[in-house]
């Protein structure tokens, strides 16, 4: 379609020709000459007939802060200029636009960095091809695609496990004797023992044969309970962001250790995934926790509605919550009464903002702090460890403390 430049040049030419004719001054035609030459030498028939565009991201699934490459190939002969405007979703940036041209084909690269988990529609990429010395331009919107950004983990450097583990194969050294690789002690030799298990140093010291024993390697079940009924804090570091990142980090770490990991989402509609192992479970859990953002309903009831298969006996439960309503506290009470080992991770990092000069605001803040203290006191009374997590520390020490603090009667 014609650009404003065409109409403006035509306006200049018409004005100048008209003024020259009306005033009978041929010198005024000077102003019309250049626009008329441009208009006459760039007819519509000389424009490029067709163009092809290919646009792709190098991957459509990534983790927060991954660098993706967007490649655009435009093939058009006879264009004066090709421009591109990339529409990006929120929390996504594009940097380093670079292009190379070989013949009629131009290839451009952008580096796209999504900084927050979620599902985003990237694009469209609006291409504008200018031809005919800037007198004509065509615009086309090219869809790029949907980008799935998984939350980054990193909440836990290495997996920790309770002292006593259920009789299921895994990678954690348990107290029971088995066929693992971690040293578990020595005992006197008995007929049938393997000769390579003999501990020669102990045998020489004791003047009788001793054999080495090894710890059995067991796995356990971890269930993360996400309290996503409330989202507070700045985008990118809100309680929902921290909850999702902590859950993903725990899931990654424990699935890598061949433990079974499940998830229960409180707040909004109640949903759960039964504990399972394997790489597929990681994606199932990631997809599940990413769905909670879209969910603002209040159906499904409390954690007492979760079937036993999703909360197996003996599982360790990690509750991720901002502790801003009673629902998480009720869930902790319920789980504690059923004998689960629990760690509560408080993901609220900021206090509510109140005006400095507002007496009522300060009073409300004091009441709010007292309510938080009451929640902490109740958790302490229940014997449930509470950890404040701002997204930067490691949950390993707190998990280990909570797991080692399990009383025998609450173990399965």
């Amino acid at each position: 379609m014609p650009t404003p430049r065409l109409w403006r040049l035509a306006l200049v030419a018409a004005l100048a020709v008209g003024a020259a004719v009306v005033t009978a001054r041929g010198g005024l035609a000077v102003v019309a000459a250049a626009p008329l030459v441009l208009l006459a030498a760039s007819p519509r028939t000389a424009l490029p007939g067709a163009a092809s565009v290919a646009c792709r991201l190098d991957q459509y699934r990534c983790v927060e802060d991954d660098e993706l490459e967007l490649v655009v190939e435009v093939t058009v002969a006879g264009a004066d200029r090709v421009e591109a405007a990339l529409s990006l979703p929120t929390h996504t940036t594009a940097t380093g636009a670079r292009s190379s041209t070989v013949g009629p084909t131009t290839t451009a690269h952008w580096t796209v960095v999504p900084s927050r988990w979620g599902r985003y529609v990237v694009g469209p990429l609006r291409l504008r091809v200018v031809a005919g010395h800037g007198l004509y331009a065509a615009t086309v919107d090219v869809p790029v695609g949907e980008l799935v950004v998984y939350p980054a983990g990193g909440a836990l450097a290495r997996p920790v496990a309770p002292r006593e583990l259920p009789a299921r194969l895994g990678e954690h050294a348990s107290r029971a004797v088995g066929s693992g690789v971690e040293f578990g002690g020595v005992r006197p030799y008995a007929p049938g023992d393997r000769r390579r298990d003999i501990d020669w140093r102990t045998s020489a010291r004791q003047q009788r044969l001793f054999v080495r024993q090894y710890a059995a390697e067991r796995g356990f079940d971890l269930v993360t309970v996400l309290d996503v009924g409330v989202d507070a804090g700045p985008p990118g570091r809100s309680t929902l962001d921290l909850t999702v990142r902590a859950a993903t980090g725990l899931t990654q770490t424990y699935l890598a250790a061949h433990d079974r990991v499940g998830v229960v989402s409180l707040g909004g509609s109640l949903r759960w995934l039964t504990p399972a192992t394997g790489g597929r479970q990681l994606y199932r859990i990631c997809e599940s926790v990413m769905e909670v953002r879209l969910d603002d309903s209040e159906v499904g009831g409390g954690i007492d509605r979760v079937p036993p298969v999703a909360l197996p006996s003996g599982a360790f439960v990690c509750v991720l919550s901002p502790l801003l309503d009673d629902r998480a506290l009720e869930a902790v009470r319920d789980l504690r009464a059923r004998g689960f080992g629990i760690l509560v991770v408080d993901v609220l990092t900021e206090e509510p903002e109140v005006p400095h000069r507002s007496g009522l605001g300060r009073l409300a803040l004091r009441v709010w702090r007292m309510e938080r203290d009451a929640v902490r006191a109740e958790l302490a009374g229940l014997g449930v460890p509470l950890l404040q997590w701002d997204g930067s520390g490691d949950l390993g020490a707190a998990l280990l403390h909570a797991m080692r603090a399990l009383r025998p009667e609450v173990r399965a």
Partner: protein, 169 residues
């Protein structure tokens, strides 16, 4: 060869603004209050069009700058001769081109230029146009005796040029 393609909108704006100011300065004649008023007004509107980026304001600025050129050429032909008019019309071309390249006010997405035509191709035709304007100025400077045939030939040439332009587009 790979190259960074980010275009700075400020550059296009600066080029367009300087071109409009230059064109107005070239035709600013002392002792002609009407011409001075139109020229100053044209420069002001051109500056506003460059700064704001509204399309209709750009067209108005083009109209006013052209009017200033023509008014100066018509009222003070001794001061604003074909040479000045040629230079001013070349700057007017640059101004119109710069207006088209500068980003509009509602553009929130950054626009990157992926490729541009080589410099000779971009500059060649405008240079031919400016050369044609210089030729027209040279011819107009020659003394001519008014005759019906000359007026007719001039009118036919102008109408033919307009017809070729409009039919081509």
């Amino acid at each position: 060869m790979t190259a960074a393609v980010t275009r700075h909108p400020a550059t296009a704006r600066a080029v367009a603004g300087c071109a409009a100011a230059g064109a107005c300065l070239l035709v600013l004649t002392p002792g002609q209050p009407a011409v001075a008023a139109v020229t100053v007004g044209a420069a002001t509107v051109a500056a506003a069009a460059v700064a704001v980026g509204w399309r209709w304001l750009g067209s108005a600025a083009t109209l006013l700058v052209t009017a200033a050129l023509l008014l100066a050429g018509a009222t003070a032909p001794d001061l604003v001769g074909p040479g000045r008019l040629t230079a001013a019309s070349a700057l007017l071309l640059v101004f119109v081109s710069g207006l088209d390249t500068a980003p509009g006010p509602r553009r929130t997405v950054r626009r990157d230029t992926l490729t541009t035509a080589p410099l000779p191709r971009r500059v060649g035709l405008p240079a031919v146009g400016v050369a044609a304007a210089a030729c027209v100025g040279l011819v107009a400077r020659q003394p001519a005796t008014a005759s019906a045939w000359l007026v007719l030939v001039g009118l036919v040439a102008a109408v033919a040029a307009l017809l070729v332009s409009t039919r081509g587009h």
